[in-house]
Symmetry: C2
Subunit: 179 residues, 2 copies
């Protein structure tokens, strides 16, 4: 039996920015009472597992202000307005990794933090990679870090890779490849 939804009684708009929006919804609960839900608005994103001809996965490092540290992650990025997610995957691979991908396989995806955030990440396995001119966003400073899948899995176990989308995406692909 499906759970009852939470109808919106009123919405307080708090913020609308470059990447995120923020609102507080007052909702009716299953028992008739009311509560509030603090919600991060997000347009959705893509995350890619790019594997080169030598079988290495092309990870990236970048400084992440929200967590005040450099992070090792799968390449990823937000959808532009109206952009198809396959197009976003190809664009982000050019911008962050400097490759074009001859083959993209869609693996579904996942919500980043469904308790409070709208963001859905579409996951792609990208192969048949070719060097393409690097075209980074001017407020990004991303460095490519190739690793074998075995190395990447060890970096998950030892806590070096500690980003949910990267852990989820790498482990999905590792199962698929039988690594």
């Amino acid at each position: 039996m499906p759970l009852p939804d939470e109808p919106t009684i009123s919405t307080e708009r708090i913020f609308k920015g470059r990447v995120l929006g923020f609102r507080v919804d007052t909702v009716r609960l299953y028992d008739g009472k009311t509560s509030t839900r603090e919600i991060v608005e997000h347009r959705g994103a893509v995350v890619m597992v790019p594997i080169d001809a030598e079988g290495r996965v092309l990870l990236v490092t970048q400084y992440r202000k929200a967590v005040e540290q450099e992070m090792l992650e799968l390449p990823a990025g937000g959808l532009n307005l109206g952009e198809a997610h396959a197009d976003a995957a190809l664009r982000e691979l050019r911008e962050e990794v400097g490759v074009s991908a001859g083959n993209l396989e869609y693996l579904g995806g996942f919500y980043a933090a469904p308790g409070y955030c709208e963001e859905f990440l579409h996951l792609y396995l990208a192969t048949d990679l070719h060097a393409a001119p690097l075209d980074q966003d001017e407020d990004e400073n991303v460095v490519v870090q190739p690793h074998t899948m075995a190395e990447a899995l060890a970096l998950i176990e030892d806590g070096t890779i500690r980003d949910a989308k990267s852990v989820a995406g790498l482990l999905r692909v590792a199962r698929r490849l039988g690594v």
Copy 2:
């Protein structure tokens, strides 16, 4: 060589709520220019893989307003102020699943969305489970759904489980158990 960090020039405080805060930092980039970073403030959380005596993983369903759908997830929850994460794991298992855990194994964790959110999730494998009185938060309506690990892995593949922390946590534990 470590990447340069992004020193804060100024902070605009936007919101402080029950679960989340929100601020916009103006930062100095690696090239001397400035940019803004929209940041969701979060106290951190725990996510548990509870496995019962029959080897079943105890998942939960609940309605998630941010994504306007019922979600099947690992049990999880935010840290209370000053609460140790092992204590939070035991508390959330009682509140959401109605079990006490005789054994908790810490598996490290991951950031939910390090591009814009502070939330770090501590991951625990919980075994030696015993029924305990259910003690749900009054604005929660959570239903326990036991599945074998093989079923849970199939539900990831077919997109039924589509929550990053649950995909990451289940696949970490599946590798560990050799499933």
